[in-house]
């Protein structure tokens, strides 16, 4: 088999000392970047791409693969220790990671996050290696009407996130949808709600809004409560045994990784959504759903496996079709182009050593999360907790502001960040869940736009939305995801009624 021989040929190349050094340096750098709120894989890779220009392709790509995987895991460290998602995809890690840390199990929680990230990343890299050539046909079948239904599916999954305050969740989702209307209408070219601000033409910078809503309120709180005992409690000890077993978590890892891989492959539906769906699905299937949000090891494992599993998978359509499955994958495409590597089937023929080498690097750097993420990073970040809370709060705000500024070198985005931070603060005080807002914001414009594209292509024939097999499958899933919470509630009521 030539795929196998190409893989074997690539092995010696990635074991060269420069390449190994680049992968390790990238991984450690990525973990640090991911752990700093507001920074993360996209920013780290964007900053590094210009520096990689003079490097050998495999050295450059190895470093970027390390940053990519490292940053995805790094977000978990402050999520567990401080309830601050270091990256947007670590939001669901805070839900159970932080309660575990509160119970004095921070060390074990970070270690579990590292193991889960490594498993998710390794499975994702394997999927990249196996599926990249085969997935081309499936991805091509996704036209605007299919992508529209995929985004509606994402929006419908809000129903699972709502919990016991459905009204507030729906309002938050609607606010997210409203914000997603801002910017130049991509079909007519008209500007909507931009108030003449050039910075708003492409819509508000989503990273700034997300970071503001998620990263700033905890920092406000820290300063507000000065040295609150709440934050000082998360101490790291040696990871204690017995918190979880492999037997208990292997099914969770497998399912969450699969979800992450599928979400990663689909263009335009990535980022935090893989950990959101993995977390909710695990909660639904769990024997102990009541533990979720209060320190469930299953919840933590699902969130971390899910978010690392979309990394390599997002590169499947990127390498084969030139369509990135995520923002980071888009940057990686740019990095490939800088080294003269054009995506597409030709890439696999013309530069097999680089492509297969890169895919193996995604695998190796995922596995390296165990030694470097679990033990090493935990030690470093334990020190962060010795900083007084007020200082840490100010430090977080400073680093977040700096990080958002560097995305576009724009002060406007910093104001957007701070404004979102205020919004997030009041949402938290008034107990509005932030996750539905985020989903509405991220998916709203994609849904609207693909629906209108589908209408242009079909000449305003609505039946096109219901006449294709993939659309119908996704539609069935939407019905399930909306119907499930309602159905379960009705079932529970009937049980109670018969019990009485």
């Amino acid at each position: 088999m030539d795929i196998l021989s190409a893989l074997i040929n690539a092995v010696p190349d990635i074991l060269a000392w420069q390449v190994v050094l680049a992968m390790v340096a990238g991984l450690i750098g990525g973990i640090v970047l991911g752990a700093i709120p507001g920074l993360g894989a996209p920013m780290g890779i964007a900053m590094l791409i210009p520096l990689t220009y003079g490097m050998e392709p495999l050295v450059a790509l190895g470093m970027l693969a390390g940053v990519h995987n490292g940053a995805s895991f790094g977000g978990a460290i402050p999520a567990v220790l401080l309830r601050i998602p270091g990256t947007t995809s670590a939001i669901f890690t805070t839900l159970d990671g932080y309660p575990l840390a509160q119970k004095g199990k921070a060390g074990a929680a970070v270690w579990l996050a590292a193991v889960s990230s490594a498993v998710g990343g390794v499975l994702s890299a394997l999927s990249l290696i196996i599926l990249a050539p085969m997935l081309m046909l499936v991805t091509l079948a996704f036209g605007p009407s299919e992508i529209f239904w995929v985004t509606v599916f994402g929006l419908a999954s809000v129903s699972i996130l709502l919990g016991n305050r459905p009204g507030k969740g729906v309002i938050a989702a609607a606010v997210g949808l409203l914000i997603s209307l801002v910017g130049q209408d991509r079909i007519s070219g008209q500007e909507r709600f931009t108030f003449g601000q050039i910075e708003l033409l492409n819509g508000p910078l989503v990273v700034a809004v997300l970071t503001g809503i998620y990263a700033l309120p905890p920092a406000w709180n820290m300063i507000e409560k000065a040295l609150s005992a709440k934050f000082a409690q998360s101490k790291i000890e040696k990871p204690e045994k017995g918190l979880w077993t492999y037997r208990q978590l292997i099914p969770v890892w497998l399912k969450s990784s699969l979800i992450g891989i599928v979400v990663g492959v689909l263009p335009g539906s990535s980022g935090g959504s893989s950990s959101a769906i993995a977390y909710n699905e695990t909660k639904r299937a769990s024997k102990h759903p009541e533990e979720f949000g209060h320190g469930s090891v299953e919840g933590l494992a699902a969130a971390e496996a899910g978010n690392n599993a979309d990394n390599a998978a997002a590169m499947i359509p990127a390498l084969t079709l030139g369509v990135p499955g995520s923002g980071v994958a888009a940057l990686m495409l740019g990095a490939l182009l800088i080294h003269g590597l054009h995506p597409g089937p030709e890439l696999f023929q013309n530069a097999p050593d680089v492509v297969y080498g890169y895919m193996l690097q995604m695998l190796v750097t995922s596995a390296l999360i165990l030694p470097f993420g679990g033990y090493f990073a935990t030690k470093i970040f334990a020190k962060a907790l010795m900083i007084p809370a007020t200082m840490l709060g100010i430090l977080i705000i400073a680093v977040t502001v700096l990080g958002i500024y560097t995305v576009n070198n724009s002060m406007f985005d910093v104001y957007l960040l701070l404004g979102s931070g205020v919004l997030g603060y009041f949402m938290e005080k008034l107990r509005y869940p932030p996750a539905p807002l985020v989903l509405g914001l991220v998916l709203g414009s994609v849904a609207e736009y693909n629906l209108r594209l589908a209408m242009i292509i079909s000449n305003d024939d609505w039946t096109v939305l219901f006449s294709r097999p993939i659309s119908l499958i996704i539609l069935a899933l939407i019905v399930v995801v909306i119907g499930l919470p309602v159905g379960l509630k009705l079932l529970a009521q009937r049980k109670r009624a018969t019990a009485r």
Partner: protein, 319 residues
Amino acid sequence: MDFSGIMAAVGVGLLSLVSTSAMAQYPERPVTVIIPFAPGGGADITARTIFPFVAKHMPNGATFVMVNRAGGGGELGFTEIALSEPDGYTLGAINTPSVVMKPIEKQTRFTREDFTYVANLAFDPSGVAVRADSPIQSLEQLIEELKANPGSVVAGTAGVGSEDHLLLSRLMNLAGVEIRLAPFGSSGEALVALKGGHVGITVVNSAVSAAEAGNIRVLALASDRRWEHLPDVPTFRDLGIDLIGGSARGYGGPAGMPEDVTKMLADAFAAAVADPEFLAVAAEQKLPLRYMDAEAYRAFVEDQHGAIAKQWEVDPWIK
């Protein structure tokens, strides 16, 4: 002349000495190059490829720092370049057609006259392509089909106000046909939609038309000459349609830059594009090189402005 007068004269003399020597020292500090597009795109890669070689051929150990300022289809970055201090320490990538389209379609804080043009590096002609298994074999056949059944073909474009969109609007007017335009988010997405059979035609740039040779068929290129990597593909002019369009990637700064600075930069560009080491890198990346000196580049921008302004009057792309 009293003493203070003498001192003033001496002072002025000294100052002018200082300023001339400062100019001779240009650049004394790093020069910022604003790229009005996101990292990883064609504009970004081209700029990052050429500037190390420009630096190599500049005196005084010049360094150029690339800063991406994407937003509003280039408008944000162009505005910043145009409004910066014309001292040679802020330069930028000035891409057509975006730089001439934006001031035509809306009120902007810059026009093409607010720039000093230094040199153009590349011209990437657009081509109209179909899927390899499409029954449409040639541009003539496409136009016949469109005349027989107006609006029967859907074209995927990179978005409203993109070069693709404009090119197809111009083609519709020149050939007297009607095409339905589906504005995708980027030319990459439009290409995938073409390969997936969701749209009938799309517009591709030269790099894509070369890389995708087996998957798509380029019907015609909007250039004034055939391209060496695709010698069998005709130009629109070959087929009697006067359509030239694509992205030109050139560099400049705000209007009113000191002439000696502009000349120093222009000379460094001229030396860089002749540098064999650069040519090797450009060939590897299949950069469609089209060097134009400051004069030719300025004339080219004027020419593009004329063609696009005319199109706007006939059929504005934003309604």
